[in-house]
């Protein structure tokens, strides 16, 4: 899993089947994809990781979703919220990726959470579909927020993941396109390629040492 598109939505959430998306991902230079709400597997050399999306207002709801999901290796991705929720999401250890950070206030993810996320190897997802889909003020806000996250990432070293957020094969982006789009908010080529490879790192992260007995 060297290069991974961190979130795509196959049928029935989009207009393309999972297999077709896997073929398209391979043509676009990826060797794995995270597909929302499907079981993991492999198709024509492309590894498919099942993604679980948790959109909750309280940590208890996320914990309930995490307990229900038994399929392995699945990537639990939770939507960001206020500061307290984000802190709880990062500290629980179940959530691997925090998504939709751009919808939250700027102070909901600060240098303290960045440091904890780096320690616990919890990634922050940058969804490129918002940059492509939005126009004007909304796009500017997303670019501003992503630039801020990139700044924190460079300082504290927490993982970033990059997703196309594609609901169709026409919305999927190649590595080349992703690199160009990421340059809009200050993530350079090396940083983008590292972020495309960080899903593997997040899935196989080292657990903290526990003292038993």
């Amino acid at each position: 899993m060297e290069y991974t598109d961190a979130c795509v939505y196959p049928l029935p959430n989009g207009d393309s089947s999972l297999r077709r998306m896997a073929i398209e991902a391979r043509d676009l230079g990826f060797d794995s994809i995270v597909a929302a709400c499907v079981e993991g597997g492999s198709y024509r050399g492309v590894e498919i990781v099942g993604g679980i999306l948790a959109r909750a207002k309280e940590i208890r709801e996320v914990q309930a979703i995490a307990r229900k999901s038994t399929s392995s290796p699945a990537l639990l991705m939770a939507s960001a919220g206020p500061y307290s929720l984000n802190r709880a999401l990062i500290q629980t250890g179940w959530v691997r990726v925090i998504r939709e950070i751009q919808t939250t206030p700027k102070n909901s993810f600060d240098h303290i959470l960045s440091r904890i996320a780096a320690e616990r190897q919890v990634a922050v997802d940058l969804d490129l579909s918002l940059i492509v889909r939005e126009r004007g003020y909304l796009r500017q806000k997303v670019l501003q927020r992503y630039a801020d996250i990139v700044l924190l990432h460079e300082k504290f070293g927490f993982p970033l993941t990059i997703s196309s957020g594609a609901r169709s094969i026409l919305e999927m982006k190649s590595r080349r396109d992703m690199t160009a789009l990421c340059s809009l908010f200050g993530l350079d080529r090396d940083g983008t390629l590292a972020a495309l490879g960080s899903v593997n790192r997040v899935l196989n992260r080292h657990k903290p040492v526990e003292v038993v007995g």
Binding site: R19, A180, S183
Partner: protein
Amino acid sequence: MKPRPPTMRGKHRYILVRTDPPGLDLDGRTLYYAVAESLTDLYGDAGVARIQPSVVSCSDGCAIIRCSRAAEDEVIAGLAALTNIHDKKIAVRSILTSGTMRSLRQQKERWNAPAPSPCEDVPFQGKSWIPVRYRGTKVDLFEKGFKNQERLFLTEEDLEE
């Protein structure tokens, strides 16, 4: 009038792009306006004036786009942000960048979209669809009807299930 010497001319880069889905009837002028609009959205009028985009050729699902040197990444970002033309969903994927058109023309043959082959109607999810098959196992399904036709992107194996 004496032509300007080569050293004083503006330097350009050429980008080979592929348009998806295959079979779209797209001319150079339409593509140019779409690309210019996308770039204007991203970089503004001053940015587009600096980038100097133009569509050099457009045929068989491939196009060559020219831009000023050092602006190729900005053009690629603009192409990636292009999602529809005349309310039709489209993807413009950059393939190669070069300093001359000759090398891109040689590569273009590889990327030309194969002609789709329409077949008999197939049932899928309780509806009747018109399938269009491409090289490999790719199948596009078009909903039967006159307007607002839904399009699904599947594989042969999806249809067999």
